[in-house]
């Protein structure tokens, strides 16, 4: 700092030390940032190094081979994950978006504070707990693990995520839109759906995609709901395979060939999730609202 206090200026030595200390700490903080970023690069590096060589035609078209045989693929797990996500979206999207509409368009200030608080707390519920709860509600009564149970578990986890992002984007829509529409005598529900939600559509879709990417990698809630399956699922009332489940099962197995496939599956899952995140970023880059 040039020219600080005039009469009370500390000695040159002390000044120099203070400046050095400041520089040293700046360096340390820069280093921390580098350390924080390192794991992402390490994980990506190993995923590509270990996984890329196993990504062949078979991986995307074959079922897993029985223990001891090499080869096979994760076709059923990939389709299973997509099926589960579709079911999750059917539950999570309407409830989440409508909840967001309530918060932004209808709710009172105090009530909203409570609801936001509840949504944030719900968001912090460990994913394994969701698995247990859905097990009790949807697996025990029907006496079978099922794709439905897995889909519901993921769907419920999406609700608070989508609700909060939807609310945020709806609040960005100028109040004058609503007032202009009201002045034309349009019903409130039409204003919300046709004008407000439509104007905020891009942001809402972004929030939905982020929520989907987040639950796509969830394993814990599927352990005792979807369970996993080594074959094709032909009936949603039966267990279904999912990429994260398959990665977990293969990773803790003792076979090298399964480890290889676990890396390949992890690479696919990571590409799916990072791909979605990057798309969302490109989508929202030139976002006006």
């Amino acid at each position: 700092m040039p020219a600080a206090a005039i009469s009370l200026r500390p000695s040159e030595v002390q000044q120099g030390w203070r400046r050095w200390k400041s520089r040293l700490i700046t360096c340390a903080m820069g280093l921390s940032a580098a350390v924080v970023m390192t794991p992402l690069f390490l994980v990506l590096y190993f995923l590509i190094r270990e996984g890329a060589s196993s990504l062949d035609w078979n991986f995307f078209t074959q079922l897993p081979k029985p223990t001891g045989e090499t080869g096979g693929g994760m076709a059923n797990a990939i389709v299973g994950t997509i099926t589960l996500l579709a079911m999750a979206a059917v539950i999570g999207v309407p409830i989440g978006v409508m909840g967001g509409i309530y918060l932004a368009e209808y709710g009172s200030e105090r009530g909203n504070d409570g609801l936001r608080f509840a949504a944030d707390v719900l968001n912090g519920v460990p994913s394994i707990v969701w698995g247990m709860v859905i097990y009790v509600i949807l697996v025990t009564p029907f006496k079978t693990f099922s794709a439905y149970a897995g889909g519901v578990a993921l769907g419920l986890m999406m609700i608070p995520l989508i609700m909060r992002t939807t609310e945020e984007v709806l609040l960005l829509i100028p109040q004058s839109y609503r007032e202009a529409a009201l002045a034309l005598g349009i019903a409130r529900w039409k204003i919300i759906l046709v004008i407000v939600v439509k104007a905020a559509m891009k942001g809402i879709v972004t929030g939905i995609l982020i929520a989907l990417a987040r639950v796509a990698g969830e394993t814990a809630p599927l352990l005792f709901t979807a369970l996993g399956n080594n074959f094709w699922n032909h009936n949603l009332k039966e267990p279904i395979a999912a990429l994260p489940l398959q990665i977990f099962a293969y990773a803790i197995s003792p076979y090298d060939d399964w480890h290889r496939q676990a890396w390949a599956g992890a690479l696919v899952l990571m590409l799916l999730i990072l791909g979605t995140n990057i798309c969302v970023r490109l989508l929202s880059r030139d976002r006006r609202i």
Binding site: R19, G96, I128, V133, R188, L227
Partner: protein, 322 residues
């Protein structure tokens, strides 16, 4: 919201003929929002009912006994509670200083062009699924820890009970490290938001007194943001407690309480993940439910605390979902 909208009498806006769609749409929205509350009640209720047998049979002893024996049907959760708390504390000890330093770097020091890329990388780190961290942990991190870091810790700090005993690789410390990696993004991003809310006046005043860059941060910025950063750390703790897959894959899954961080441990979430589908008797299942209930109670407590700290600070609830 909707100040003008509300001040217009509702009857003036709607012709009687289309009153019902408006009402039912509103009702749907209310129901959707109420789902949130219903879900919280549902989760707690299901676990509470499910753990009834165990609560009735073991009472408070469940929380302080360290016997976990499916054969004799005696269950105590202490090793799991210990493992969950210890691995989370290790994670916080590593992640809080690193995360806060990174947040400070991003808000106070980094050149403008560098900020967005770093933030993006950290957001991507947050998107990596737990199971992939676990996979990487098993095959990359554990061997490295076992052959390098743990050996070094043992030779330099081996006289401490914390770093004594045989080194297997899978361990409480490995679990703590992997959780640290996973909670770094949330601690960094929430701290960053808090730091950005520190008024510039605060910094300018310190500069005017002749403070160096670090002194400005220490006196003006950190002093102002202390409470919020504490909130960020608590939020990270909430995530750490419930972390399941990655921890299960690297912590060793042995229900023992050991003084050494090199010894394998077990957490509440891990024991549920490993044993829930194998629970053969009603009492076994009920005990696992109670484990889930304990975990839920811990995380809700911690999350409520964090939200309260962060909310009173920013004064509004519109903080982004972390």
């Amino acid at each position: 919201m909707a100040s003008l909208v509300e001040s217009v009498p509702a009857s003036a806006l709607r012709s009687p003929g289309r009153r019902w769609p408006d009402g039912s749409f509103r009702l749907l929205a209310i129901l959707a929002a109420a789902t949130i509350l219903a879900l919280i009640v549902l989760v707690g209720w299901v676990l509470y009912i499910g753990s009834g047998d165990s609560i009735h049979k073991f009472g408070w002893r469940f929380l302080v006994s360290s016997q976990w024996d499916p054969v004799t049907e005696i269950y105590g959760a202490l090793p799991f509670i210990y493992g969950t708390l210890l691995s989370s504390v290790i994670a916080l000890v590593i992640a809080v200083p690193l995360g806060v330093a990174t947040a400070l770097f991003l808000t106070e020091m980094a050149p403008q062009w560098m900020r967005q890329p770093v933030v993006t990388v950290i957001e991507m780190l947050a998107a990596v699924p737990s199971v992939i961290f676990g996979l990487w942990g098993i095959f990359v991190m554990i061997p490295w820890l076992r052959d390098h870091l743990f050996q070094w810790l043992k030779s330099t700090l081996g006289w401490l009970p914390l770093f004594s005993g045989p080194v297997y690789g899978v361990s409480m410390l490995a679990g703590g490290i992997i959780v640290a990696i996973m909670i770094l993004p949330i601690i960094t991003s929430v701290s960053r938001e808090i730091l950005r809310s520190v008024p510039n006046l605060q910094r300018e005043a310190a500069y005017a007194l002749g403070a160096t860059h670090w002194e400005v941060i220490r006196i003006a910025v950190l002093g102002y943001a202390r409470r919020g950063i504490f909130g960020a750390a608590i939020l990270g703790l909430g995530r750490a407690l419930g972390e399941t897959m990655a921890v299960t894959m690297v912590i060793g899954n042995r229900p023992e309480i050991s003084r050494s961080l090199f010894a394998p441990g077990y957490t509440l979430a891990s024991v549920v993940a490993n044993e829930f589908t194998e629970a053969s008797s009603p009492m076994y299942l009920s005990s696992l439910m109670e484990i889930g209930l304990v975990l839920l109670g811990l995380t809700i407590l911690v999350n409520v605390l964090a939200q309260i700290m962060l909310r009173t600070l920013t004064g509004s609830g519109t903080r982004k979902v972390a």
